[in-house]
Each structure stands twice: as C-alpha cells, then as structure tokens.
C-alpha cells in the first residue's frame, strides 16, 4: 500500500488560497466599487467544499488499508533544518485526523454557506470570508500537521484568526477588547505548548520530531519528563479549549459575528486542545497522574461552566458556557484515558453546537441583533424550522437518548465509572442534569410562552433558505451522529472507537453489564430531572428573574474576570509602569542614547569625506591601492 500521497496538502491549501484570493479581492476593491457579494460567497465556499471532498477521499483511502497500517503522509518540503532539528512541512492523515478532517470541513463548509445569508449587507463581507477561509485553513494545518511544529503553525494561525474574527466589528471597543482577551489568554496557553514541545524535543527529539518517530520513542521518556511535557501541553490545551483557569476568553468571544462563534465553538478552535491531547495520547497514556489532573480540571470546568450557564441571559453566552462545559466533558474523557470517547464527543458536539449557534444566529438575525433571551419569547410559531432544528440540537446537548450527545456523553461517563473515577462520574452526572436544565431554560424562554417584546416579535421572520438548509443538515447530523458509535449494549459495534483505535494508545475498560446500565440510567435520570426542572420554572413563560445571593454571584461568573484583573492584569500593568518610569530612562536609555550620539557624530564625520570631487575619489582609490600593495609586498616576501 502506498502511504505517500500528494493530495493531502491540498486540503489545507485550498481554503488558504481562497483566503488569499478573497483578501486580495477585498483589498483591491474596498476603496472603489465593491464586488457583488455572490462572487465572494462562491469563492469562499469552493475551498472548504473541495477540502471536504478531499477529506472524504482521505477517509475512503484509509478505509481501504489494513487496519494496523492506516496512515497517509505527504512531505511538502523541508521547512528548516537546524542541528538535529529537521522539520519538514509534512502532513499526516491517520484515522484520528481523518475523522477530524471530515467534520471540520463539513461543518466549516456549512457555516460558510450559512454566513452568506447571515453576513449579507455587511460592508466588510469579503474580509469576513477571507478570515473565515484562513481560519479553516489554519485548523486543517493543525489537524494534518505531521509534527508538533507544523501543528503549532496551525495552532497559532487559529489563534490569530480567532482574534481577527472576534473583533470583526471593530468599530466597537468592547469587541476589540474581547478579541484582545482571547488572543492574550491564548498566548498564555501557547507558552505552555511551546515549552512542552521544547521539553519533548530535548528529551527525544533527536531521533525525529514527527509524530510517528515520537510515538516510537515515547517509551524512553523518563516519568518526570513525561509528566512535565504532559502538563505543559495541557496548559496549551486549556488556553485553546477554554478550560480552568484560561476559559475566560470563550464567553467573551461571542462578540464576533454568530457564524464565527459557531466555527470557534464547533469546528475549528476549541476542539484543538482535545485533539492535541488525543494526538499525544502515546505520552499521556504512560502518565496516569497527568491524566488524572486533566480529567479533574475538565470535570470541574464542566461544573463551573454549567453553574454559570444556568444564570446567563444572553442567548450566545448560554451557548458559550455550554461549550466550556462540554469541553470539560471531553477533557474528562481524555483524562481517564478514554481518548476515543473524548474525540467522539468532539465529533458529536461539533454537530449540535454548530446547529445551536447557527440557530441562535437565525434567532438573533430575526430579532434584529437582539441577544437577550428575556426580550424574546413565543418564537416557535414565527420560526418553525429554526425551532425544530434548535430543539433537536438542544436535545442532543442535553443528552436525550437517542440523540448524538447522549451516546458520546454516556461513553465518557461510563469510562469514568468503569475506570474507577467515581468522583468524576458523580460530578459528570450532576453536570448532565444542569446541562439539561439550562439548555431547556433557553429553549423555553426563547421559543415558548408569550412574546415579551411585541414589536420585535411582529417583525421576526424565518431565516432565508441559505441559512435554514445548513441548519437542517446539521440537525440530521445531531440526530444521527450518535449511532456511529453505538455501544454493544444497544447492539452496536462502536465503529468510531474501532476506527480511531490505531491512532490512539488506549485500553478499553471492560465492565459488567450492571455498571453500564447504572451509567446509562444515571444519565437519563439526570436529563429527565433537569428538563423537568426547566419546564416547571420556564415552561409556561416566566419573567426575567432578579438574581439574589448565590444566583447573583453566579450571574457575575463568580467575579473571576474581576479577580484576574485585580490579581494579574493590574499588578502587571503597575510593574510595567514602574519600569517605564524608573528603570528605563536611567538604566537602559542612557547607554542607548550615548551609542546613538557617538554613531551620529561618526556618521557626520564620514559624510565629510564624500566631497563630490572626482579627483578626491580617485585619490581615495590610489591611497587604498597603495596601502593594499604595501601589504601585498609583505606577503610576497
């Protein structure tokens, strides 16, 4: 079987070319007559769709290979070579990345199509799609990179694009600040990634720094080094995937246009951390302590975000916290070494979270950019398609059997239980109930009951087809994706886990039927209790509550942002100020200014020699020549 292929590189390159073309079109025309939006729309969608087709090709090529040797590689060119470090711009497609490819390109394409409707009329239409294509291209580089370094290129590209897109409506200072926050917080995480990568290279990089060589050499890692590497990489993952303590940027990231939120939350950005941990499963699997830490951080994030989510009144913030919470689940999954379960949750979550965000976008679009759920209500009648699709998404998110979210979440909780992580399991079940509660709180308030703002309600209308069609496709995904990994208890074969098995280093826990039934039963029970509580409270319509006590505390997100500001940002600013005012003028500026002055005087002196007389220039030549000849005569002797 031929493992070297040439079409792999096109997958990230096509959207990147699209980004370049769109960017040039936009730059070239923004000051003159703008191009028709349809042209941008077509150009924007070609790249992602073709990438999706290629992703299918990758998938089927891999499927045609024997299970233990399912991988495709492409080495585009040697990027740089410094000492032992020989980094080629190479791509690697194995079952893990092929799964990521499939849903990233599919959901990315759908979001592109949806955006044509959502962004219509924006004066920076072309710029938006250029960024969107760049975003998708970076994510595909991240997914396909065959070494941590190439992965890091995509990793940084994704961070950059999130910054550009979150602050897309840059006329408003708040949006720009949100973009800054996302970027800076991500940079803190990136530091962890870089350090982890450095440690890894220091330890075993000399024998080759691509994933395959690393995997082959991982067993020689000293336990301490492995733990350090794992934790540092996890710091990177907490930044990108919004975990404690770096989750603060994600809720603010909804400042960007809604399709961007969908893309960040579903397909491109936040899944990178989970993917990275799964990619490095060959190290994490050897360090149970690291896994333990990852799992606990994950499940505590899930709990915290779920608490926040129950008290938010902005439709996108509810969804944002639900993402943080679901990401917590994924980390809990990969933390208890159930990598395929974590990745499977990434996969299903991509469908229903994209669906929910795009649905929310349709609602916001219909309500003329109103995001407060307490100004909505009764939209069920006005927007039936959006309602039904969002309901499917909500059921999937809440973990209602047989929707996609149920199977994946249950798989994680079951793994936690089966590996003896009872604490994680209990918190997980609790969070599942809370998820059902806040999801349906949102659905009930927005779509049921009586309209709270009659005027806005009267103007509300169903979104155009270009927006609803992607919703319907995603709804089908949210409905069916779970069946791909049907556990044995329901008569399935866990195809996804088997598919992923060659890429991951994991041991499937074997547990009795009893344990499995307990896990499923608890999940279903939590869902029922959560949805029932939501129905009781909001089912028949409710007024905006005035938060008191703990609720107020949670509404303000435990004042974590303010805490960070007081503990990190302000002292940092003060130190910076102090250095600028005291140390810089005296200690650093002095010698620099002095050197500059000396340099200037010397320059002025040499300027004098450029007198402009050709005879003088000839004289210089003769003098130089004479001196050189004198030296020459010495070497002749």
């Amino acid at each position: 079987m031929e493992h070297n292929v040439t079409f792999l590189g096109y997958i990230p390159i096509l959207p990147l070319i699209g980004a370049a073309v769109l960017g040039l079109l936009h730059v070239g025309t923004c000051t003159r007559k703008p191009i028709h939006e349809k042209i941008y729309g077509v150009f924007a969608c070609i790249g992602p769709l073709l990438s999706f087709v290629l992703a299918l090709r990758v998938f089927f090529t891999l499927k045609g290979m024997p299970e233990e040797a399912r991988y495709l590689t492409q080495e585009a060119f040697t990027w740089f070579q410094v000492g032992d470090l020989n980094i080629s711009m190479g791509f690697l497609a194995d079952p893990l990345s092929s799964l990521m490819l499939l849903f990233v390109t599919l959901i990315g394409s759908l979001i592109h199509i949806y955006s044509i409707g959502y962004m219509s009329g924006d004066k920076n239409f072309g710029k938006f799609f250029a960024y969107l294509n760049l975003f998708l291209g970076s994510m595909l580089v991240l997914v396909l990179g065959d070494s941590p370094v190439v992965m890091f290129v995509g990793w940084e590209g994704v961070g950059l694009c999130s910054y550009l897109l979150i602050s897309f409506y840059c006329e408003d200072t708040d949006n720009v600040l949100a973009g800054n926050k996302a970027f800076i917080v991500n940079r803190i995480g990136d530091l962890g990634f870089v350090l982890g990568m450095g440690f890894l290279f220091w330890a075993i990089g000399a024998q080759g720094f691509d994933f395959m060589s690393l995997k082959a050499n991982a067993h020689v890692l000293a336990p301490g080094v492995a733990l350090t590497v794992c934790l540092l990489l996890f710091v990177g993952a907490t930044g990108k995937s919004a975990q404690i303590p770096l989750y603060v940027w994600l809720p603010d990231a909804m400042a960007g246009p809604t399709p961007v939120s969908a893309l960040i939350h579903a397909a491109t950005m936040v899944t990178a951390g989970v993917y990275m941990v799964a990619r490095f499963s060959f190290i994490y699997a050897h360090v149970p302590l690291a896994g333990e830490i990852v799992a606990w951080v994950g499940i505590l994030t899930a709990l915290l975000a779920a608490i926040f989510g129950m008290f938010q009144d902005d439709i996108k913030k509810v969804l944002a916290y639900s993402t943080v919470s679901q990401l917590g689940y994924m980390f809990a999954g990969v933390g208890v070494a159930a990598y395929s379960a974590g990745i499977f949750h990434v996969f299903t979550h991509a469908f229903f979270k994209a669906l929910l965000f795009l649905g929310a976008g349709a609602v916001i679009y219909a309500m003329h950019h109103e995001q407060n759920i307490w100004k909505m209500g009764g939209l069920k009648k006005k927007m039936p398609k959006t309602y039904i699709t969002m309901l499917i998404g909500a059921l999937a998110l809440a973990g209602c059997p047989p929707f996609a979210g149920f199977f994946s979440k249950d798989e994680i909780l079951f793994s936690a239980l089966a590996t003896g992580h009872y604490g994680i399991w209990i918190v997980g079940v609790l969070v599942a109930g809370m998820t059902a509660y806040y999801t349906f709180r949102m659905i009930f308030v927005v779509f049921h009951g009586e309209p709270r703002d009659q005027e806005a309600y009267d103007h509300a209308h169903e979104a155009p087809a270009v927006m609803t069609v992607p919703l319907i496709i995603l709804a089908v995904g949210a409905l069916c994706a779970g069946f791909l990994n049907l556990p044995a208890i329901f008569g399935g074969h866990q195809q996804v886990s088997h598919w992923l098995a060659p890429s991951l280093t994991e041991h499937h826990p074997h547990a009795s039927l009893f344990v499995e039934i307990i896990a499923i039963g608890a999940s279903v029970l939590a869902f029922v209790i959560g949805i029932r509580a939501a129905y009781k409270r909001f089912g028949a319509g409710a007024e905006e509550p005035q938060f008191q006590g703990f609720a107020k505390f949670a509404y303000h997100k435990f004042y974590v942002d303010e805490l960070y500001d007081a503990v990190f940002v302000q002292p940092y600013k003060r130190i910076g100020d102090a250095i600028r005012k005291t140390i810089e003028p005296s200690v650093t500026d002095g010698p620099v200014t002095l050197a500059a002055k000396v340099y200037m005087i010397a320059g002025a002196a040499f300027k004098v020699f450029q007198v402009g007389y050709v005879r003088v220039y000839a004289l210089y030549m003769i003098i130089g020549l004479s001196v050189m000849s004198l030296l020459l005569s010495q070497s002749l002797n």
């Binding site: 730059v27 060119f77 040697t78 990027w79 740089f80 070579q81 500059a596 340099y599 200037m600 010397a602 320059g603 002025a604 002196a605 040499f606 300027k607 020699f609 450029q610 402009g612 050709v614 003088v616 220039y617 000839a618 210089y620 030549m621 003098i623 130089g624 020549l625 050189m628 000849s629 030296l631 020459l632 070497s635 002749l636």
Partner: protein, 472 residues
C-alpha cells in the same frame, strides 16, 4: 551544440531584443510605453528560457561553450535568472517612471537590454579577455543610462564621475589581464588555476600583481571600500529605475564573476582572504557611517548598497573552492535585489515629477495617504535590514552561518553589529512614513499601473524567497 545553443538562448534573446528595440527606435514607430512592454516581454521570455534551463533537463554542471571562454554552471544560471528578473522589473518601474519624467526615448530600453547582455556574459566568462569585453558592454550601456537625462546637471555630473573612475578601474583590469598573461601564459581561468596548482601562487610576482589589479577592478565595480566613493553621487544622479538596476543587476553580475575568479584555485583564494576580511569589515562600517549622515533617500540607499557589498564580501571570504556552489552569495543577491528593486520601483512612481521627492522628510506621512505603498516600502526596508521573516533575514542568516562554518567568527560578529547599525537609517524612513503627518499631498498614482504592480510582486517575492531553503 544544441545544448550550447539552449544555454546561450537567454543571452541571444536579450541581444536580439536589444537590437530590435534599437531599430524600432530608429523608425519612430512605437511609443515609449510600447517599447517598455516589449522590453518586459524580452526579459520575461529570456527569464523563462533561463528558468527552464535551470530547472529543466539536467545539463552537465560545468558546460563550456565557445571554446572554454564561457562556462555555464548552475551558479551562472541562477545569477542570470536574477539579472533577467532585475531587467524585467526595471522595465516595469521605468514604464511608470517615465509618465512623470519626460526625457525617455525608446533607446532607453534597448540600453537596458544591452547592459543585461553584458551582465549575462560576465557571469559566464571564464576568461579574462571576455571578462573585460563583457564588463565594458555592460558598463558602456550603464554609463549612458546614468546620464540619460541630458538636461539634468546632476545626471551629467554623475555620468562624468562614473565614466572617469570606471575607466580608471577598466585600466586596472586590462593591466591585470596583461600581467596575468605574462605570469601564466594564458587568460583562461582553468589554465590559471592549473598553473597556480602546479607552481604556487605567491611564487609568481606577475600573477600576484595581475590578480591584485583584477581584484581592484572588481572591488571598484561592486563599490567596496576604498573604491566606494563614486557610488553615492552616481546613484543619486541616475534616474530611480536605473539606480535600482545598477544596484542589483550590475552587482549580481560582478559578484558572479568575482566569485568565479576567486575560486579558480584554493591557494589563490586563500591568498586574498586576509584582504577580503578587512575590506568587508571596513566596507560595512564605512557604508553604515556614510548612510546615517544622508538626508536624501537615494544617497542613503547607495550607502546601504555599500554595506550590502560588505556582506557579500563576507560570503566571498567563506566560499570554498572545492565544492563551490555560490548558493549563499546568490541567495543574498536575490534577497537584496528584491528589496532594492522594490524600493526603487516605489520611488519611481512616488518620486513625483522630475524626482522632486528626494529626502526622508518628503516621505513624511506617506502611510496616511498611500497605506499600501508605505507598507510595501516598509517591508522592503525591513528585508534589507534583515528582520525575520523576510528574505533579507534569511540571506544574512545564511551568510553569517557560512562565515561561522568557515571559521570566520569575527566576521560573523561584525556582520551582526553592522546589521544592527543599519537599522538606524532603514527605520528612519519607516518612522517618517508612519509616525508623522503628511506635509504635502501625494499625486494620484492610479494611472501608474506597472510600478505598483512591480512593488506588489516583489513584496510577494520577499516572503516567497524567505521560504525557499538552500543548502549552505
């Protein structure tokens, strides 16, 4: 025979193109704009043929044509590519330049092509007489181009100085050739190399003196210390596209032949390493010190050209004659050419009528009025200053690593120091463009299509070249 023909094809195309342009000029049938496009076409075609020669069918690495007078290797092919690209972009920026300056005739482009012929020949010359002839073909055309604006006193002054000092240098080259012939009995590089290998270098005074004089001539042409003084006035007096062409194409050609001459034998190269060591340091620092005192942009760029010559001399010190590939020299020349051509292309359309914008102050606030042009200039300047991720940075990196691996750590250190010093005047223009209010309006440049397009392509090249790795 066909091989030879294909290898010479770029040269033939430029030569025939030059003659055709000359005849067209005699018949007064085409406008200068059409002539400019024709010249672009000639250079473009020649470039493509050269490219297909370079990357296409595997030709013997050292292929001799014309009885060993010319030798074509991968080194000369790539040098030819750079030269043809320089010609192409010069024609492109001249197209826009002559919309604001009206001293152009069709012969201008013919002369550009003729000098390109000389440069191409020079890169391939492996024999001292052909070196002299091709050097003169190149130089004579360049002399005329420098003084093309006959009404302009500064251009006349520039061409006077250049011609006189150039003749001076040409005399050295001829004298050197005669002495070498006297010492060795041949003017072919290969035979000189054999003679040195057989009898040693410093045992043969005529050869040493001859080689020394030839060296002096080359050092003059690349404006190395202490033969640098002409370059400021000449670059300043010539028209912006011509200056760009001189600074890039001419330098590439002379450095190519310089390297070819140096590597004929290891003892001979080793004999000059000491000189080149001190000369490169002095060239870099003198260039830097001259550059910071300048107020005129073109004079600053001329002085910075001296500094870049210093870097290239470092690369020459570090070349090895056993496995000579010259990749570092060519990489640096390519990177430097892209930046320099880009700035001069930008000056061609931003300079205004009769190049009225000359000083740093005239470009104040450019970023407010012409953000894209200012950004392009900033990128070129950063590339020349050697800031990552530009081509200029990679070029400097390769030069410094090659110096270190050749054991010349001191040179590497001086190179880095000089690179830091050079920020002074590069950043000065960027500061003027970005951190000052515009003092005057810049003309609408909407109808100058070619030079802006040229800057755009070169900006892309700045980054594209930096991504192209070479084996040091």
């Amino acid at each position: 025979m066909t091989n030879d023909f294909m290898l010479l094809m770029p040269l033939i195309i430029t030569g025939v193109g030059a003659i055709a342009l000359m005849l067209i000029a005699a018949y007064d049938k085409v406008t200068i704009e059409q002539a400019s496009m024709a010249s672009m076409g000639v250079f473009g075609l020649a470039f493509l043929v050269q490219l297909s020669n370079t990357i296409g069918t595997a030709v013997v690495p050292y292929d001799t044509v014309f009885n060993g007078m010319l030798v074509i290797s991968n080194f000369t092919k790539v040098a030819g590519l750079i030269i043809l690209a320089c010609g192409f972009f010069t024609s492109m920026s001249a197209h826009s330049y002559f919309k604001q300056n009206n001293f152009c005739t069709t012969e201008f482009y013919s002369l550009v092509a003729f000098s390109a012929c000389g440069m191409l020949l020079l890169t391939m010359s492996q024999e001292l007489i052909s070196v002299f002839i091709s050097l003169e073909i190149m130089s004579l055309a360049i002399y005329i181009l420098v003084g093309y604006d006959r009404q302009n006193k500064r251009a006349a002054e520039a061409v006077m100085k250049y011609l006189m000092l150039g003749a001076f240098a040409g005399a050295f080259l001829t004298m050197g050739t005669a002495l070498v012939y006297g010492g060795v009995g041949s003017t072919k590089f290969a035979l000189i190399g054999q003679a040195v290998a057989a009898n040693g270098f410093f045992t043969n005074p005529a050869l040493v003196c001859g080689a020394f004089f030839i060296l002096v001539a080359f050092l003059f042409k690349v404006a190395a210390f202490p033969f640098h003084a002409w370059v400021i006035d000449v670059y300043d007096g010539a028209a912006a596209p011509v200056t760009g062409y001189m600074a890039t194409g001419l330098k590439t050609a002379v450095f190519a032949v310089f390297a070819n001459f140096l590597v004929v034998d290891e003892t001979m190269r080793a004999g000059w390493v000491n000189y080149l060591f001190y000369l490169s340091i002095l060239t870099m620092f003198v260039g830097n010190l001259i550059a910071i005192g300048q107020t005129s942009l073109k004079r600053m760029l001329a002085a910075s050209g001296i500094v870049h010559t210093g870097y290239l001399l470092i690369a020459l010190v570090a070349v090895s004659s056993e496995h000579f590939s010259g990749s570092v020299i060519l990489y640096y020349l390519g990177a430097y050419s892209v930046g320099t051509l880009g700035i001069f292309a930008a000056l061609s359309y931003l300079g205004g009528a009769n190049e009225k914008r000359q000083t740093f102050d005239d470009f104040k606030g450019l970023a407010r009025v012409r953000p894209y042009s200012a950004a392009a200039i900033a990128i070129f300047l950063l590339s020349m200053a050697g800031i990552p991720p530009t081509a200029g940075f990679m070029g400097k990196l390769y030069i410094i690593t090659s110096a270190i691996s050749a054991g010349q750590v001191a040179l590497a250190v001086f190179g880095i120091i000089s690179s830091i010093l050079s920020m002074w005047y590069y950043l000065r223009l960027i500061i003027n463009m970005y951190f000052h209010e515009a003092v005057e309006g810049f003309e609408d440049t909407a109808d100058f299509k070619f030079a802006p397009a040229c800057t755009f392509i070169l900006v892309v090249c700045v980054f594209a070249i930096s991504l192209y790795p070479i084996a040091v």
